[in-house]
Subunit: 553 residues, 2 copies
Amino acid sequence: MLFWGKSGLEFRCLKILFGHPDPLVGDLTGNREGILRLHDEARALGASLLVLPEMAITGYAPRDLLLRDGFVAAAEASLAQLASVTLDGPPMLVGTPRSVPGARGLRNAVALLRNGEIEAFHDKWLLPGYDVFDEDRWFDSGDEVLHFDLEGKTVAVLCCEDLWHGVDAGVAGYSRDPLSQVNAELILSVSASPFVAGKAEVQKSRLLAVSQRTNAMVAVLNQFGAHDELLFDGRVLLAEPTGSVTRLNAGWVPGMTVLDGGDLVGHPDPDPLDELVHALACGIEGYVRKTGHESVVLGLSGGLDSALVATLAAIALGPEAVHGLCMPSRYSSAGSLEDARALAARLGMVHLHDVDIEPIHEALRLSLQPVLGNVEGVTDENLQARARGVLVMGLANAQGLLPLATGNKSELAVGYSTLYGDMCGALLPLGDVFKTKCYELAVHINRHPQRFGFEEPPLPENTITKPPSAELRPDQCDADSLPAYDRLDRVLEAWIEHGKAEDALPESDLVGEILPMVQRSEFKRRQAPVVLKVSPKAFGPGRHIPVVARTRD
Amino acid sequence: MLFWGKSGLEFRCLKILFGHPDPLVGDLTGNREGILRLHDEARALGASLLVLPEMAITGYAPRDLLLRDGFVAAAEASLAQLASVTLDGPPMLVGTPRSVPGARGLRNAVALLRNGEIEAFHDKWLLPGYDVFDEDRWFDSGDEVLHFDLEGKTVAVLCCEDLWHGVDAGVAGYSRDPLSQVNAELILSVSASPFVAGKAEVQKSRLLAVSQRTNAMVAVLNQFGAHDELLFDGRVLLAEPTGSVTRLNAGWVPGMTVLDGGDLVGHPDPDPLDELVHALACGIEGYVRKTGHESVVLGLSGGLDSALVATLAAIALGPEAVHGLCMPSRYSSAGSLEDARALAARLGMVHLHDVDIEPIHEALRLSLQPVLGNVEGVTDENLQARARGVLVMGLANAQGLLPLATGNKSELAVGYSTLYGDMCGALLPLGDVFKTKCYELAVHINRHPQRFGFEEPPLPENTITKPPSAELRPDQCDADSLPAYDRLDRVLEAWIEHGKAEDALPESDLVGEILPMVQRSEFKRRQAPVVLKVSPKAFGPGRHIPVVARTRD
């Protein structure tokens, strides 16, 4: 296999280590210690250079913590402490905020630490300001590309978006072009690029184009780990001017990736559904651990969504860390309880409780009767959903469990969920996964149980095949209130993820029914749990839609 | 009184009308109709010019609606329709988004409509990107200041932040300066500047400085009305190079302000507490009406916060639109119920219901017992708060009422509230008002009942004077769990509103206790209702703090 370097051999003398720690945003001490452990390892391996992700000092993104008096100074002090270990160890490239006079007074920088000192900085030029990104809120742009000599080779440093002059989807194009300044044999770009299904493919072709334009090797390192709604895969990609691009690791684990004179071992791009499972599990695991929890609790209805969330949580945390509550009502079918129990058994859950909500529902109905007369319709359905929410939260409070909500993106989009009911939870793992994709995921996990640590298919067949129902009134079916999910999801994807105009939407006979549902439920989403972002446009901080608005004439 | 114009008389020939409609974001048709009504009025009055606020076509801020295919084109079509009425009526200045090639492809523009045509645009130069502002997400900057001739006078047009070169609190300073291009006798600046207590004072001194630097009259028009968390007062200010600055209206009502050759009638700056009441009432009224509701529902505990929210809602909507629920538990004091009833009677509320939560609380406890054993402590307290939340939401669902949450900023900051319990509601009117300020407001309203439409002091004395308690366990007092509110609020104000470093905070003996409470409750705030912003830093979209983070070492 032709290895890297313009001549194929030129770089064999270098050993570059790409570190992907799992930072906790704002935890300067913990993050520094994580980097020091990697640096020890790099020293032991005789590395030429240790490369760390964008903002590795603070974790990406510290957001408005950057505006707090003293935070940036503390980050700078942490960087100075790190520099000292390069006196008797390999140099480092590490992402950090740094103060520089200017409108914001701050740069998104990559520091070169060498010989015990902070030798130089690259300040990110292109600051994304779309979707979940808001970097020009905190940073001024840089205007010079850092070049440095590494054992006789010239290395240029870039930061994430700097590679994307003129082509990014978020804006029509950045007017400034850092690549125009690059004159190097190797470009090292550090990034914190949140997972979006399919994004790695786009990045690969971009890297190739950059490599060919600059006639340089281009290596990109991404942050690893979950931060609130954002998931980072820790991938390392390498492009060569010869036209090949190689993924140097499988991603989704913390640690280190080595690039040296040995044979280049390329990793295949992961199967998209495998990767979606990894991403969601990473998000659950990170959120739970980084908030100081060990275990989660969720309501198990016997339906697909809760079964899938329980399965993902079991993948992320182990089945013993997943507590399930079965909460049947007068409208629950016998099959539902059986399906929930079957799931728990297949997953190997050890904490499963049944709580009949009938007495609570009845107490709520009786209490409201003097005020409302007969309690019926949506009011009565919501009482049941909210009684369940109170029970899940009660278990969470009493046992220190983190509550997971079990809705999906289709429901969340049209408001087919009860605020303070089934929307209760700190995290909504499937909130960016359409119902049709939830089915695909369930079928996929069942088809390849071993890939995810199971011996047998974890999801009961009946959970996947029965018609979806909220079971909040007799013989209720989702199909009574909603269009078929495949048609619904096509409209939602075009409207929400691609921002298409109304008259350009598919399934035009449904548009007039669906869009008002989306608009009317904005207030619910404003109070939704954190949604793990896996699509180009997730509900949450990357979507700034007013709550009070008329979005259609 | 010296009137406007450098000579004191120069502009007497002009009659400028400042329109402050009450836009609904995204409602292009409704907003256009509102502007047309004002234009009819302006025509009847023989106006020289009708000035409308920033983004009057769409309402400010349309946020990501701007990214939707077709939205800007529809706004531009709406502008073109408006232009036609200037053929036989006065010209207009009106804020609008417009497409212009560039990185974002969009400008935050002010259009000059005259003689039936769109004659020219001013594109806003300085795009705020701090606190609740995010304008460089959507817009490119302009680079020319529109000047036009109006009956022989030269008028320069600016847009909001354009006046603030070099001095804004959000950034160290904008590097570009639109004022350097101004050469006019009158500057008209249109804005959508959200209410923050004390901001008008700062703006006045800025206007004076601008007027003296440019030797021009400077008039500023602000948007009126509530939009989600943002409140706009509709004020019109006029500064003269002679050194005087005049408030031309009292603000907080939609309509029109006339500036003509008559005597200039200055309005005094409102009393700060009066203005806070107006702002909060405007926020409640706007949210309720613009979401298609007429009435609200809230739990009345007999305590200060719920009494104050009910009072503000009565001011905003009339007492008959305020539905109260008294929901005593085993721990409620007899006095609480009496206080709640006294409040309802004094406000003139006609919808007041008692629902004893004891049977619901007991059903919840019994249901959880097999799982948890004895239900006690915070778990049990939260069951009560959540039972109340379910009841409030039940009434809201059954009767189409908008639920109001009753917490204050101090509670919200330290997490002294129950998610899905007392935090239930679409709107949290006091979420940006510290507890000590809530007391001030209550005393103020009681001291001046007539100012707010009451004949007698509406709040029962006992509600104001008794020690605050959540009444969720026997003899509970807020002071058992929290520092005294005056000391707590001093720390919170310095930490949250002013971003001070930890070692610069007041009440240093409390800091170690308070800051971790703030940090640990970030997840609750992520799911909080819309908080009406009245301070420099409100919880909500203007504060980008990660949920999962370590914010102190």
